[in-house]
Subunit: 347 residues, 2 copies
Amino acid sequence: MRIAVFAGDGIGPEVTGEAVRVIEKLGLPDLELVEGDVGGAAYRKHGHPLPEATLDIARSADAILFGAVGDFDLDHLERHLRPEQAVLGLRKELGLFANLRPARVFKGLEGLTSLRPEVAQEIDLLIVRELNGDVYFGEKGMRTLEDGRRQGWDMMSYAEDEVRRIAHAGFKAAMTRGKKLCSVDKANVLETSQLWRDVVIEVSKDYPEVELTHMYVDNAAMQLVKNPGQFDVVVTGNLFGDILSDQASMCVGSIGLLASASLAEGSFGLYEPIHGSAPDIAGKGLANPMATILSAAMMLRHSFGLEAEAVRIEDAVAAALAEGVKGGDLGGSAGTVEIGDAVLAHL
Amino acid sequence: MRIAVFAGDGIGPEVTGEAVRVIEKLGLPDLELVEGDVGGAAYRKHGHPLPEATLDIARSADAILFGAVGDFDLDHLERHLRPEQAVLGLRKELGLFANLRPARVFKGLEGLTSLRPEVAQEIDLLIVRELNGDVYFGEKGMRTLEDGRRQGWDMMSYAEDEVRRIAHAGFKAAMTRGKKLCSVDKANVLETSQLWRDVVIEVSKDYPEVELTHMYVDNAAMQLVKNPGQFDVVVTGNLFGDILSDQASMCVGSIGLLASASLAEGSFGLYEPIHGSAPDIAGKGLANPMATILSAAMMLRHSFGLEAEAVRIEDAVAAALAEGVKGGDLGGSAGTVEIGDAVLAHL
Ligand SMILES: CC(C)[C@H](C(=O)O)[C@@H](O)C(=O)O
Ligand SMILES: CC(C)[C@H](C(=O)O)[C@@H](O)C(=O)O
């Protein structure tokens, strides 16, 4: 069990620190943790947000526990040197094509969302976002047209195998949940989406028990506000998934509790909280580590098949919350280590 | 004053009918109304959702009052024959590059949104969406790659002049409102967005009074849920605008009241309710015509400079609402003609 720990920037080191304490407490046999530099921290040390050495550590590991990257002071750099590029680089280099973002409202925390409590409490959905293709990784550039105008351009595309594997991921996830899958696209305008829709329909033949629906992305953004409780699993492309998964997180309200997994074929995966590096509170012991601790639980489940241990961690977090141990983001006053201690106490 | 009335499908004819009654009641001199076929209705009559004859009527007019298009029974057609193509065709053929979508919560109707009333009541924003470029109108297609895989592709791009004119539209709108403009892009991933951002910053030099901010689209989708009251004017590209403007409408809740304008350079524009053709209630006299009536008011203001008349209509709608005249979409029971009558009575 070799786990790469990439803490990154801002509050990254603090929150991964607590998650590591939780994993270590489980007393798993053959546990090995290896640290690596990513993001702004890596740029400052090595001149690149994703150094070759970090990639080597990632490739030698069975899973990655990731903190956060992002550093306003480096926003002036050329795009390929900015901290966020570490995320894109890891996704592409390691074939992390399936991003799973569960969103549900935690009992007792309905007060944190902007949605009415009766709407919010129905939320229990999973967004399955494709991470390796779409307009993110197509050719792109700036050019000067013949008439002298500058133009920025990006190629959007999906090939059938790229859609097929994420569709399978979506259907499989639906099979373990409510057996409803909503595929989101913009097939009334985009050929990329038309192919997406055709392939999702082909793949659906393998999952006769799953009820498949299709929704345009503009309508999906509306329905996530109007009635988010209607969704079970949502499968969508990289760009639409970026937007909708963040929207869904905010519908839940308590972003400090939301975990995510980015999976490759097989059992390898990268696990990270969905919140960012929060430079404003970094180094102050104020960050809520629960989302990272819950990401570690996802890691034990998906990459190591340790369902019981994953549930133990999730229950411990729930127990700490029930006891009133809450970070500032949840309206409480518990600090990073205090929250870690509380979770450890409930393990 | 030559106004083209394109009623379209579903409830389109009913809602435009009431808006026409309202306009006629104003007794404007030299008013001329010309009808034209669009959408599924046009396809059924002429084999095309946007016949040449309709385009000719549009070109001969000073403004277009548009109902709605969309017809599930025609969804099996090739994309270029589907009803929605009428909308895309009109935008492109007539150079309707600036889509204005105001969203605010009407007094007394805070109960209709899924957002908490205290969050919703702060909403008073305008989305300025580019309508003539982006991945909507780039080259696109299906191809078979060398290795035999099918691929769908769409070219996303913006040239500097396309960004410049919509940026000016955004800044000008901000000058008439709260002097805050938020430009939404995905410049951390897209070259199209990087050019967008660069040009918006250039244009901002002409509007020193406007406070310009930039936001990534995923964050914008979050902020529209968390705290929509922070926005005054939002300017964004065609694709992101499609998603965010629909999300913003749903934050308001009362979609049956939301109007929109799609403007060309000069005074020409197309005005339409943001709701769709609602085939389920079509022909039953149940549709709420208020959004179309308010679209007619926008038309008088933007295309004909008739500010006083626009305000008269808007006040009449507000008065009818205050009196309790509400369509089924607002939790009331007033029918299409009854609502039209009530607005007319208050003119
Ligand atoms: C940092 C950025 C490139 C990234 C993305 O757009 O994928 C982020 O928003 C995310 O969702 O993980
Ligand atoms: C019908 C469709 C092509 C259109 C769009 O995507 O622009 C619609 O969603 C809109 O926003 O007017």
